[in-house]
């Protein structure tokens, strides 16, 4: 039985690695669709400001703009490191 399991568990096929990577990057790209062109710049500058006060990682910030009927909401999420 052990041997059979071993034989079945081959190394991960490259096509499934490709699929997983694509799913992530495409989801990210779609999140940016329809956003104003200034968003990446805004994200970068906000990160700079936050970093003046707290040490955060590059990917600790997420920003999104949702539009409803007559107003848009800019949502900013920053994960701060644990204190102490």
């Amino acid at each position: 039985m052990k041997l059979l399991d071993f034989l079945k568990r081959e190394r991960k096929k490259s096509a499934s690695v490709a699929k997983e990577r694509l799913q992530i990057i495409v989801a990210h790209q779609r999140g940016q669709r329809g956003q104003p062109d200034y968003m990446p710049m805004l994200e970068r500058e906000l990160l700079e400001v936050i970093r003046r006060y707290v040490e955060v990682e590059q990917d600790a910030i997420s920003i999104s703009l949702d539009s409803e009927d007559d107003c848009s909401v800019l949502e900013l999420n920053v994960t701060l490191p644990n204190r102490g």
């Binding site: 490259s14 096509a15 699929k19 669709r33």
Partner: protein
């Protein structure tokens, strides 16, 4: 009123021009009056694939700038009666393409033709955006490979935001996925994305699947669109694709690996 179909991809070298030439030829062979336009200003190649490079006198830019009439610039295909080619300029730069100019040319072609096929340049710059701007339908050419799939997704984003139908809030462009250079053997061995995966990631309807085929290079060498090679798998796959574009329900072929017979294994029979 003609139906305007853009053949696009984002990434270069995936088979846009081959597909535009093959689809235009297929549509014309089915009796539709068809014109195929090269939008790759500065790097024209459609004329070579269609085998009319020595008959180019005027081009799209000449027409847009009023230096030649449409009928002077369009080249009549040697093989198919109701097929015309409108070449791109080789010497001018892409800024010579204007939205108004393109709209005017497509407007006059629209009165005369059933189908207008726009062969887009690679990239997402001006030329590519103008090629797709006035389209009713889009054929997004994709290879089973990560960078091509990602770029196709970018193009889908542009199709849904930067085109006239999007800007005017009209019915969105009909998007079709055309997978090219598909190798079922490599899919089976787990080293190539399969068509279900690509479809799932891009989430648009599949209009055709063109297998990796020696016939494609042979066709471009000779300047004869591969649709004419009805002995070949790729040629047949493009005919199927055209039938689906015309609304017919055609089962998918060439997506499964052929079991090689004893003889072809012995003598290495290649793909036709």
């Amino acid at each position: 009123m003609a139906k305007i179909i853009v053949v696009t991809s984002g990434k270069g070298g995936v088979g846009k021009t081959t597909s535009a030439a093959a689809i235009a030829t297929g549509l014309a062979l089915r009796g539709n009056k068809t014109v195929v336009i090269d939008f790759d200003v500065g790097l024209r190649n459609l004329d070579l694939i269609m085998g009319c490079e020595r008959r180019v006198v005027y081009d799209l830019i000449n027409v847009i700038q009023g230096e030649a009439g449409l009928n002077q610039a369009m080249i009549r295909d040697k093989r198919v009666d109701n097929l015309h080619i409108l070449p791109a300029s080789q010497t001018r730069d892409k800024d010579a393409l204007t939205e108004e100019g393109v709209e005017r040319v497509l407007g006059s072609l629209s009165e005369e033709f059933d189908y207008i096929i726009c062969d887009s340049p690679a990239g997402i710059e001006r030329g590519a955006q103008l090629a797709m701007h006035f389209a009713d339908e889009a054929v997004v050419v994709t290879n089973p490979e990560v960078s091509s799939v990602r770029d196709s997704d970018r193009i889908l984003g542009l199709l849904s935001s930067k085109t006239r139908r999007a800007e005017k809030n009209q019915e969105p462009i009909k998007e079709h996925l055309l997978i090219t250079r598909y190798d079922p053997m490599r899919v089976d061995s787990g080293d190539m994305l399969n068509l279900q995966d690509i479809q799932e990631i891009l989430a648009i309807n599949l209009i055709g699947l063109i297998p990796e085929s020696e016939a494609v290079l042979r066709a471009s060498n000779q300047g004869v669109p591969v649709t004419h090679d009805q002995q070949s798998d790729a040629g047949q796959a493009y005919v199927d694709t055209v039938s689906r574009l015309l609304g017919e329900d055609v089962p998918l072929r060439f997506h499964e690996a052929q079991k090689k017979g004893f003889l072809s294994r012995m003598f290495g029979g290649g793909r036709r």
